[in-house]
Symmetry: C2
Subunit: 362 residues, 2 copies
């Protein structure tokens, strides 16, 4: 196990070395975890021949290749490890450190010049190893299980908030560390919205209901969204709208091809939506990488909206692919999956969230 | 309602004016919420005669005194509102903005000189109004209700994680927005620890069980911790340890006196613990303010550990008062309450979390 983390640290060292940086102070929590395997550590100082991890309590499972530095209560772990750095150029994560902490780090290492590591660790994290993909696979299964159980229960009369909590509990019962993000349940005119916070609205007969959920398993987060109808039979407009989103999301999934552009999925979905007069809904793109964070690089957007995202889809990159369309005052449909980019000779993209996308009437 | 927020913004304007700052760019989420009442907004630009709030979607309940600026997806709300600032000195929250965002704000307002607002808004938030205290009172009641129900249920054989999720669900059932922080349940040798994350350990006969929980109600967060024994009768060492923590926490609560020093509560508890040979346990202090954030100013620590905390306890300041003692390998006891500092003629500190602190055998 320690080998995995030691190897990752070597890759970061190589990057630093190429950039003329003597040591890296890593503070973004998921980056520290990815480089050490320690979920609770808050700062890592990586020099050419040494790794020093700031911890609040001595670790139970020690990694011999990584020394621990106990941080006194109330002190900033980044500042404490930075004060040990005897280097000229110290790389820091400017996208993570606040201005105040950055200044404190500079004061603690007065002889060092602080340089931005940019998103070096995040970039190393984009392509996953098989152990990471296994964790994501389990996370996807757990979300599927919780969703499947919900579909078998009575929904009418229960509040969005209550359903969201129940889904979170069920995921934990199935072995999740916890939800990957607060579960979102939207019913009636809340259905289909991307970031709707569950409220007190209760499920009614005839409602659309959208569930966005994800499990966190050993730190790895997979995400899915489904929309169903409550009651015996969906109405005509519900069938139509669901069919549209289903078709557009399928087109996006099918465009997830190794070597393709980060733009392809959004373009494919947009072609379907434009043909039906809903071109505006992809403003937020159709997905993004997942892993230790629920939103990682790359971003699957349209190039006109996200200029500069010129990468290609690489092997072993897990991403979400999802989209929604809502009608003002009537609610809408959102469908999302987590998939892993794979070569076509291996069968193409691997779907991690397999719960049915049919328009079930619950 | 709008008056409350308008008045708060006037107080911030007065502070800015005194500091020679023309406009304030507020980005810390709780600060934005406190100044506008909008839970989901991400940045507020406050000039001498204007308030501009960055929102992702048009608000349903508009505040006429505060204009809305719709932020396109993928753009930083702070940068978008900063680009409208025609000022010389722009105050920003350096403890909230990352180095990267700070730079983007500077680029968006090239004619402005960026100045640190320090913790201006946090300081204004320390003393609560009665409406805020009412929300905290309800939050305390909700935590009490959830805890009370747990005490009546069967605990043996259930996992820490499962109990924690159940408490979160119960708080939501009783009207909470959600938990104030992830509920912590520790059993056996995990009991009594400050930041134990609930795991797969199942409750056994004879265990100590420590529950730390808090509800969030309309954004306001109260917090409590209790320790009980599972089984028919506690053992001698459990009775002793519980009695010690109970006495020390009571001493700390009784030291919560209007006009007292921020050091008093910790000193009072320390005197009790030192007499019994446990002086080390107050390294993290005995409490802190609560409100829209679960950890706010002031910090109730010992002056030797938190130099510079020379304030006095003020009227209408809600704080947590709690401490724990653990014995290696055997677990321990943690007891915490949320109280509001009040003058002695009004009966002294008001206790918001009233669940019994007796050593119940469950």
């Amino acid at each position: 196990m320690a080998d995995v983390y030691g190897e990752r640290r070597e890759r970061l060292r190589a990057r630093c070395s190429a950039a003329g940086v003597d040591a890296a102070l890593v503070t973004a929590p998921s980056n520290v975890r990815w480089l050490t395997g320690v979920p609770s550590a808050e700062a890592l100082l990586l020099t050419r021949d040494h790794a020093l991890l700031a911890v609040a309590h001595p670790l139970r499972d020690r990694d011999d290749a990584c020394d621990e530095l106990l941080v006194p209560p109330g002190q900033d772990p980044a500042v404490v490890v930075a004060s040990t750095a005897q280097v000229e150029a110290l790389g820091v994560e400017e996208h993570d450190l606040t201005v105040t902490r950055h200044r404190a780090v500079a004061d603690a290492a007065p002889r060092a010049q602080l340089r931005d590591l940019h998103h070096s660790v995040e970039q190393l994290r984009v392509v996953k190893d098989e152990q990471e993909l296994n964790c994501l696979r389990v996370a996807g299964e757990i979300a599927d299980q919780a969703l499947g159980e919900l579909l078998e229960s009575i929904l009418v009369g229960r509040s969005e908030r209550h359903l969201a909590m129940e889904l979170e509990r069920r995921m934990v019962d199935h072995g999740a560390d916890g939800p990957a993000f607060p579960v979102r349940v939207g019913t009636g005119d809340h259905a289909g919205r991307l970031r709707h916070l569950p409220g007190d609205r209760r499920v009614e007969e005839g409602d659309f209901i959208t569930v966005s959920l994800g499990a966190c398993y050993r730190g790895y987060r997979a995400s899915a969204a489904r929309t169903f109808v409550v009651g015996l039979a969906p109405q005509e407009w519900q069938i139509e709208l669901h069919g549209l989103v289903f078709t557009a999301q399928r087109a996006a999934r099918e465009a997830l091809v190794l070597g393709g552009s980060l733009d392809d999925c959004a373009q494919a979905a947009r072609r379907v939506l434009e043909a039906s007069g809903h071109p505006e809904v992809l403003a937020e793109g159709v997905g993004h990488g997942v892993g230790l964070d629920v939103e990682e690089e790359p971003r699957l957007g349209s190039l006109d909206l996200w200029p500069g995202e010129f990468g290609k889809l690489e092997n072993r990159v897990p991403v979400t692919v999802g989209l929604g369309v809502t009608l003002p005052g009537r609610g809408g449909v959102r469908i999302e999956d987590t998939l892993v980019v794979r070569p076509s000779e291996d069968g193409g993209a691997e779907l991690l969230t397999i719960t049915t996308k049919e328009l079930l009437a619950l």
